[in-house]
């Protein structure tokens, strides 16, 4: 019997108290528990994390980078969504 392919997992690490988990890379593991242990060994050898998430790579639905132009076009033309678009007189100070 052929050995089944080992699934790929995406690894997310919370580096500091209060921060969100951030994607750091991927790894191979047969199940979630082994993925977590492998993530610890591969990605946090220098104390990089407070907590780890592993997610099966197949569970991720991604946008197509080749279509980023069309995907993000709606936001590109809207400079009025930024605070600097509005004039507040200097005398009023920070707002």
């Amino acid at each position: 019997m052929a050995t089944p392919n080992t699934p790929l997992w995406e690894v997310f690490i919370r580096s500091r108290n209060g921060l969100a988990h951030k994607h750091v890379g991927s790894l191979h593991a047969s199940d979630a528990t082994m993925a977590l242990q492998a993530a610890r060994d591969i990605y946090t050898r220098r104390g990089e994390g407070l907590s780890i998430w592993v997610v099966p790579s197949t569970a991720i639905t991604a946008s197509d980078p080749a279509e980023k132009g069309m995907m993000f076009e709606p936001a590109e033309s809207k400079i009025y969504r930024h605070p600097t678009f509005y004039e507040v007189p200097d005398e009023v100070g920070h707002m």
């Binding site: 809207k78 009025y80 605070p83 678009f85 707002m95």
Partner: protein
């Protein structure tokens, strides 16, 4: 603020829970550690936060209504685009917040249903009407200004998902306040009628905006637990005073008069405002404000009219799932 200390105090039920766990939890809070969704937390902490975050979310959603009233009547295309973008942001803020509340185990559906049934509150401020274009400027300047004053400390609140949602929200609110103030500057530099319109809007919004910070500290019901849990970092009166001190010079620049003849500046530079009419606040919270019924009717109508979309999306997802199962079986 958007949650207005409406919460009645949760009874401290830690006696019923693991005492050691509760002590460890409080020690984590005291050490400024953030609590995350999978961490152990007292049931009362979970309940208080679910209520506060969902009320905050409801306020963002209902908050779209008074401003949405002016999208079609904005005076220029520039103003219209800005207002539309602002209302879209309020919707986005509501969604960040619902998602943060859901990390505590509540479902979106039950949170929304509680609001539509009138069981969950939203901020009293959105029960006032937007009568003129100057109201849109005043909302950005004062309502969003007050919201920022409250939300900045919430960026450091003990619950991680709420704090992170607030960081996103605060970044975006800056545009809201600036666009509002820009409208006010334009009106105040305009004709006598325009300036009078700006003054009239300030007159109507000033006191309701001060009420946004919730009851005075002496009467506030739930501050103790929230303070101990570092959900709340400043008292209602402290935040209200900060807001007034920041706003008075902004009004002076506009040449507008704050509708409080008794207001004085004390030796420390703080602007001391007169007594707030808490009867009005209680009336608005009880459902008797100028627009409570309109707001609830608008939300129920929108929710009802969206039912077919939710049903269609669920039916489509179910069909795709069936097809995938069938293909996998082949």
């Amino acid at each position: 603020m958007y949650t207005q200390a409406l919460n009645t105090a949760e009874t401290d039920d830690r006696g019923l829970e693991d005492v050691a766990k509760a002590a460890q939890f409080q020690a984590r809070i005291d050490a400024e550690e953030r609590i995350e969704p999978n961490d152990w937390m007292p049931a009362a902490y979970r309940k208080t936060l679910t209520r506060q975050i969902s009320q905050h979310a409801h306020s963002e959603i209902v908050g779209m209504l008074p401003e949405g009233n002016w999208i079609t009547r904005a005076p220029t295309l520039r103003r219209k685009a800005a207002l539309l973008a602002k209302v879209q942001d309020e919707c986005g803020h509501g969604l960040y917040l619902y998602a943060a509340a859901e990390t505590l185990g509540a479902s979106r559906e039950e949170l929304v249903d509680a609001m539509l049934a009138g069981k969950a509150k939203y901020s009293s401020i959105f029960n006032y009407p937007t009568l003129t274009w100057a109201d849109i400027g005043t909302i950005g300047w004062l309502v969003d200004g007050a919201a920022i004053m409250n939300q900045i400390p919430l960026c450091r609140c003990s619950y991680g998902p709420y704090a992170r949602a607030m960081i996103r929200v605060c970044k975006e609110e800056s545009f809201h306040q600036r666009q509002g103030y820009e409208i006010m500057v334009t009106l105040c530099r305009g004709s006598d009628e325009q300036k009078a319109m700006a003054q009239d809007a300030l007159n109507r919004w000033w006191w309701p905006v001060l009420m946004m910070f919730g009851p005075p500290d002496a009467a506030s019901q739930h501050s103790d637990a929230s303070t101990k849990w570092k959900i709340k970092r400043f008292s209602n009166d402290e935040l209200r005073q900060k807001f007034v001190d920041a706003t008075v010079p902004q009004a002076q620049y506009l040449g507008l008069t704050i509708p409080d003849p008794g207001m004085t500046q004390d030796a420390d530079g703080h602007w001391r405002y007169s007594e707030i009419d808490w009867t009005e606040f209680k009336q608005v919270l009880a459902g008797n404000g100028p627009c409570n019924r309109d707001r609830m009717a608008a939300r129920r109508k929108a929710h009802g009219e969206g039912a077919w979309v939710r049903e269609a999306a669920a039916a489509y997802a179910a069909k795709r799932a069936r097809r995938q199962t069938a293909q996998a079986a082949e």
